[in-house]
């Protein structure tokens, strides 16, 4: 006899087609679950975004206390490099109000950050959960094929809507009333953010269907966002409206927040997002769980012949990161290079820059070089410290147990870091050149960029040496090298601002690097060019415009060269010490 519960199933009529409701079964339950789970991360994102949007909204009236200070911004805003970075500004009744200034300064960046939040959210709960097998049990429950993705996308839409409201309320409240800032503009700003967020959620959802690995899907999403921004920059610079619109960032910007508050582009952006979401759902419906629409190449069954040394293994593990960082460093140089077109305007746009540069364009350029060079140390230290993290996670034991000497284990990571240390300055120089060549009338020759970047190599090597020495002798404290890098940045970059004494900058190798291009400073008075002409008159208005490609010198003095040789030798000593320490200490 059949048990009663079986009869219940047996006699249910067979339906011809599964209902649409089945495809989305339990979607709302999952959505609630994701919203709850996302809560802590969401709070961090919201604090970041609201801090930026509302904080800047509150602070901007102090930056531009009167209409004169805003009018003075018109000239830089018309400058192509500014246009590229920030896009088109809009006048409210013929004047640049505080609201329109806020809009052009922050909107695109808010959009980008909101886009990142959405990409992270979607990839995390679709492809990542799938890749890690967490959806396996979920899908064995009465949960439809599209339920998970639709739940995540619904959660994204809800979060974006909440964010839009919070931006509207917060920004509307914080901003100085009048001067073109009001609640309507604040809500439009929030709306634009939400709409663009939905676009990025849809884009990431599509990429998650195409790619098997969450990392790839994430990289595609961020790459796509980067491409949108590039398109936006190009389009804005060349005043090519089609390109600006295609970048979607530009489309959202056309809502003219705080000026016209036109909701049509915002709604259009949101619609694009929704179409992308639907596309993603459709792609999700037709595939197996765990599969991707772009077939992923099967992994190798046996290691390549070259994967036989620990060094080769290190390369295998790091090569993706090498490519990633090469692009990051290049783009960093590129973005700083691209403001070279109108440096004077750039410096004057901001008190901080004015102070750092002391009104001198060339000092500003050398500061850019410093920033990019210090940033360029990040990948190098990152690669080197991988050796340590591998050791900590116990992977190194696999290798060490296989008769590879301890030194060779460290050597792989060291060689990669060393090569990176040599290459990074060239990559940033290439970035600077590529970014500046388009916008400068008289571009700085590539050779000059290379010299300016390569003078940092010995200092970079010293920091790498510190990392190696720490790994060898004080493995527990390897993280301190990050602190040293942070100190370098603070002492040199912010030092001028905060009045940190001269000797403090000499405690870091970067303090001994000749700052190219050279500017002979006469006396201690700033605002004076090498030939003695004052740069600004007593009212702070520029007297002459230096063409710094000609005026700056790139020749190194004997002292500079001596300092570089000493640093190189010091780094070699640190390397050797580190290796000696490493091969004599216990593995952990």
């Amino acid at each position: 006899m059949q048990p009663t519960h079986l009869r219940r199933i047996v006699y249910e009529p067979l339906r011809e087609k599964p209902g649409v409701r089945d495809m989305f079964a339990n979607s709302f339950a999952l959505c609630r679950f994701y919203l709850r789970r996302e809560c802590p991360k969401t709070i961090i994102w919201f604090v970041l975004i609201l801090g930026l949007a509302v904080g800047f909204g509150a602070g901007i009236s102090g930056m531009y206390p009167d209409q004169d200070s805003l009018d003075a911004m018109l000239e830089p805003l018309n400058n192509p490099s500014f246009k590229a970075m920030l896009g088109q500004y809009y006048l409210d009744g013929g004047v640049l109000t505080l609201g329109s200034m806020y809009s052009v300064y922050t909107l695109v960046w808010l959009l980008i950050i909101v886009g990142c939040m959405n990409a992270a959210l979607v990839v995390c709960h679709t492809r990542k959960d799938e890749e890690f097998g967490r959806l396996e049990v979920v899908r064995s429950l009465p949960v439809g094929r599209m339920s998970n993705l639709s739940a995540v996308l619904t959660a994204a839409v809800i979060l974006n809507a909440i964010l839009a409201l919070l931006i509207g309320l917060g920004l509307g409240t914080a901003a100085e009333a009048g001067r073109g800032m009001d609640y309507a503009g604040a809500f439009a700003t929030g709306g634009a953010c939400a709409a663009f967020g939905i676009v990025m959620a849809g884009v990431s959802a599509v990429f998650c269907q195409l790619n098997k690995h969450p990392g790839t899907a994430m990289a595609w999403s961020f790459g796509f966002l980067g491409m949108l921004y590039m398109t936006f920059m190009m389009g804005s610079m060349q005043e090519n409206q089609a390109a600006v619109n295609i970048s979607i960032l530009g489309l959202a910007q056309r809502s003219m927040t705080f000026v016209a508050n036109d909701w049509a582009p915002i709604i259009l952006t949101a619609l694009i997002g929704i179409v992308l979401c639907i596309k993603a759902l459709w792609l999700c419906k037709i595939r197996d769980l765990g599969e991707s629409l772009i077939p992923s190449a099967p992994g190798r069954s046996d290691a390549k012949a070259s994967l036989k040394s620990p060094g080769a293994l290190a390369w295998r593990l790091l090569r993706g990161w090498c490519a990633f960082w090469a692009i990051v460093v290049f783009l960093l140089g590129y973005s700083y290079g691209s403001v070279m077109g109108d440096m004077e305007a750039f410096i004057e746009s901001n008190d901080v820059f004015r102070q750092i540069s002391q009104g001198n364009v060339m000092v500003m350029v050398s500061t850019f070089l410093l920033i990019v060079s210090v940033m360029g140390v990040l990948p190098i230290l990152n690669f080197m410290l991988k050796a340590r993290s591998e050791e900590k996670r116990g992977y190194a034991e696999n290798i060490l147990a296989h008769s590879a000497s301890r030194g060779s284990q460290l050597r792989g990571y060291f060689i990669i870091s060393l090569v990176a240390a040599v290459l990074v300055p060239f990559i940033s120089a290439a970035g600077f050149r590529a970014g500046s060549v388009l916008v400068m009338d008289d571009p700085i020759p590539f050779g000059n960029w290379i010299i300016s970047c390569v003078v940092y190599t010995p200092a970079i090597l010293v920091l790498l040496g510190v990392a190696v020495a720490l790994i060898g002798w004080l493995p527990k404290f390897t993280g301190w090298v990050w602190g040293y890098l942070g100190y370098t940045f603070v002492a040199l970059y912010l030092g001028t601002l905060m009045g940190i004494p001269e000797w403090a900058s000499k405690l870091t190798p970067f303090g001994h690097v000749p700052k190219l291009p050279y500017v002979e400073q006469i006396g201690s008075a700033p605002y004076i060019l090498p030939d003695g002409t004052p740069l600004l008159d007593e009212k702070g208005v520029r007297v002459i415009t230096p063409i710094f490609a000609d005026e700056a010198t790139y020749a190194l003095t004997g002292n500079d060269i001596a300092a570089m040789i000493i640093m190189t030798v010091l780094s070699a000593v640190l390397f050797i010490l580190g290796f000696i320490g490493y091969s004599n200490r216990d593995s952990e």
Binding site: Q2, P3, H5, L6, I9, V10, Y11, E12, L14, R15, K17, P18, D22, M23, A25, N26, A29, L30, F33, R37, D129, F132, G133, R134, E136, V137, V138, R139, S140, L141, P142, V143, G144, R145, D288, L289, G290, E291, P295
Partner: protein, 299 residues
């Protein structure tokens, strides 16, 4: 009006991953109230079949139905009455085990709080710990509690004991028995022959994506051999003449041989004549089963 005699019916199903054929013309039937064993070595295609049955991947060819409904088309409908425990349970690292169980139960909408608490106690699971801190066995317990506390008609279990210790394995077996006693069906995949032997009414053996043998455990007796190591007071003579005895080897620690399970009695009777001082039996393993399968099919 139509009726089904099988809870699960698979006919001529093939699943390809690109060029690779993971399942080839697989057919099987599970009757109501039956515990069905699905046994095969790693990579044989057990998980693939289960994933097709759950409608989370699509068969390349052939039909599969559960409760008479198509596994791909009517997946959601089917899942209301199916409980599943994957072989490799992966959970959200920052949720507690209790939260995960509740989520699963809630998605199925079959709340049975007392049954859930009883199972948590029996499996000695601490539901307040984050999944990140659970071992493989503990994650499996989470899935087992969620599955057995739901009122399903079919339980699909994919190597559910691979991370459990022997004590927990006992409890698991008891759970399967209870489910069976209340007339429900179980589909249990495993690579451990004993487990299947102990629990299952019917067994299919799969290898390289093909089912090579199906029958009741009794039917498959002819394939199982027990390995025996023994020491006797007098040297054993003439064992090779006993039917069903194979692979006789004399070693330092005694005499080793294998005997077909159906001939075990005559072999034992013969041995006692020599004064047995030590006897070790090891149950048949899957490898031995395959060996005898291929020996039989060859000759």
């Amino acid at each position: 009006m139509f009726t089904v005699n099988s809870i699960v019916a698979v006919s001529n199903m093939t699943k390809k991953y690109g060029d690779f054929t993971a399942l080839r013309n697989v057919s099987l039937d599970i009757s109501p109230g039956e515990v069905y064993g699905f046994i095969g070595p790693n990579g044989a295609g057990k998980t693939t079949l289960i994933r097709v049955l759950l409608g989370i991947i699509k068969a390349t060819k052939g039909n599969a139905s559960i409760f008479g409904k198509d596994v791909w088309r009517d997946a959601v409908d089917i899942h209301r009455n199916v409980a599943y425990v994957p072989g490799d349970v992966n959970l959200w690292p920052n949720l507690t085990g209790g939260e995960v169980i509740d989520l699963f139960v809630r998605l199925r909408k079959s709340k049975n709080e007392s049954r859930k608490n009883e199972l948590i106690k029996r499996f000695e699971l601490d539901p307040r710990k984050k999944c990140r801190t659970y071992s493989k066995g503990n994650r499996q317990k989470v899935a087992l509690v969620a599955a057995f506390s739901s009122d399903a008609d079919l339980y699909i279990l994919d190597e559910p004991t691979s991370g459990l210790d022997p004590l927990m394995e006992k409890i698991f077996q008891a759970c399967v028995q209870e489910v069976k006693n209340s007339g429900k069906s179980v589909f249990l995949s495993s690579h451990i022959l004993q487990e299947v032997e102990r629990l299952c009414d019917k067994v299919s053996i799969i290898r390289d994506g093909q089912i090579i043998e199906t029958g009741t455990m009794q039917d498959l007796r002819h394939l199982t051999r027990t390995s025996i190591i023994t020491e006797t007071q007098q040297p054993v003579e003439g064992l090779e003449n006993i039917p069903g005895v194979h692979d006789i080897r004399k070693g330092k620690n005694g005499l080793a041989f294998a005997v077909d399970t159906k001939n075990i009695n005559s072999a034992m009777a013969f041995l006692t004549g020599f004064g047995v001082t030590r006897l070790e039996c090891s149950p048949p393993t899957l490898e031995e089963l395959f060996m005898s399968h291929y020996e039989k099919s060859r000759g």
